[in-house]
């Protein structure tokens, strides 16, 4: 063999070794674990478990590893929203914990392992993208930027504190001062806890001798359901799709 042929053979051996190492199986009493070449955004390898099922079939699962990854990103709610759709798109099951396929036949195992690994990785990747996007487009930031545009930054205080009638100091997302009268603006989610917190704050602010205007900005009034009536007792509620002129009018309205 000449030098070139030796190099080619060497490279092929290295490539074969790399290919073999990309996926490795380990075994435990409850099943076998395949470390796949796929990685989550954080760099951990995607591992898929194969377990023996009755009738010579197999169960293939990611054992909730994707959910654990998302949970450590403090993004479990986002993942819970994303994962069922990923599972549905790929024709596999998701039980709020793990991606899995049941009753897999021997000849389906390679494909099932690849599919589950792909789902597990994809769901965490989408979750990561969503939380990165959410951080940029955080509702509070968006609202502040919008108000600063409408009223000029000098008139808008971000993350301000304002005392209520009880002297409790309340955090508000934006405090706008127009003609000497303050107006507080907060994005309020449809979650009951968020609504309860907002109502408590607005109720206390409303008891002041000269109360500030209180404006709750929500994504969808319909999503609030009957709770819209609760918050409407202490603040005016607008959807975030209202035009800038409405936001401006609310700061001036009597």
């Amino acid at each position: 063999m000449n030098g070139h042929q030796t190099e080619t053979v060497g490279l092929r051996m290295v490539a074969e070794e790399v290919a073999r190492t990309l996926a490795v199986a380990t075994h435990a009493p409850e099943g076998s674990f395949i470390k796949t070449p796929l990685m989550y955004p954080g760099g951990s390898a995607v591992v898929v478990m194969i377990a023996q099922a009755p009738g010579g079939r197999y169960l293939v699962s990611d054992m909730g590893q994707a959910q654990d990854e998302a949970d450590l990103m403090c993004a479990a709610p986002t993942f819970a929203h994303v994962a069922p759709r990923v599972a549905e798109r790929n024709g596999v099951a998701f039980d709020r914990r793990a991606f899995f396929v049941v009753e897999v036949m021997r000849e389906q195992l390679v494909g099932a392992v690849a599919t589950i690994a792909g789902c597990s990785q994809e769901a965490v990747q989408i979750t990561a993208l969503k939380i990165a996007e959410a951080r940029t487009n955080d509702a509070a930031d968006l609202l502040y930027r919008r108000l600063a545009h409408v009223f000029t930054p000098a008139r808008v205080a971000r993350d301000a504190e304002i005392p209520g009638a009880s002297t409790t100091r309340w955090h508000v997302t934006a405090l706008v001062t127009v003609d000497g009268r303050p107006a507080v603006y907060d994005p309020v989610s449809s979650h009951p806890t968020a609504i309860a917190a907002a109502v408590t704050k607005y109720f206390d602010l409303a008891q002041l001798d000269t109360p500030p205007h209180r404006i709750a900005v929500v994504k969808s009034k319909a999503a609030l359901g009957t709770r819209l009536g609760v918050i409407a007792g202490a603040a005016r509620v607008v959807e975030d799709s209202v035009p800038d002129s409405t936001l401006e009018r609310l700061a001036r309205a009597a």
């Binding site: 954080g42 390898a45 993208l129 951080r135």
Partner: protein, 168 residues
């Protein structure tokens, strides 16, 4: 708030009292606030512990979490004992560890991941890890390594998780 995050993470912290591991699906978890050097609870910083209920001494994780502006919580440092899967820093972090798949216990230090910027640090789940050498011999030793890595005193208060080993 995030401008002072490095100071917050690097400052000495103390566990105020013994946390309690509680079941959460197939895991055991706790989340504890942390005190500063004056005994004041640090706003927006927590220590979290978690491990699978049925696998003693496996996949134990401690993580420091911070409430970022905009009221989103995210990881700022993590340490893992006997993780299930190997880790790969990809092309990030210390050159000698780039593209090297590492099995075994590891720490994802704040200082290395902070260099990526807060958005990547959080959304990529602390992608830069370092192997812990030697491997902690048991849970207590691992917890002690965590205390040193995170600058948290009083970690000996953390009880061993009440694992319930799977019987096959």
């Amino acid at each position: 708030m995030s401008a002072s995050l490095p100071d917050l993470v690097r400052a000495p912290k103390t566990l105020p009292f013994a946390p309690e591991w509680t079941p959460h699906e197939d895991q055991l978890r706790f989340t504890s606030s942390l005190d500063d050097a004056d005994g004041v609870t640090i706003e927006g910083l927590w220590l979290r512990g978690q491990c699978p209920t049925r696998y003693p001494d496996e996949r134990v994780v401690y993580q420091l979490e911070y409430l970022f502006p905009g009221f989103r919580r995210g990881p700022v440092s993590r340490i893992e004992w006997h993780p299930q899967s190997p880790h790969n820093n990809k092309g990030l972090g210390p050159p000698h560890l780039r593209h090297i798949e590492k099995s075994g216990s590891q720490v994802h230090p704040f200082d290395l991941n902070w260099t990526l910027g807060v958005k990547r640090m959080v959304s990529e789940n602390l992608p830069i890890g370092l192997p812990i050498e030697p491997e902690p011999r048991d849970f207590r030793a691992f917890t002690s390594v965590m205390g040193t890595a995170f600058g948290v005193r009083g970690v000996d208060l953390i009880p061993a998780p009440p694992w319930q080993p799977r019987i096959l």
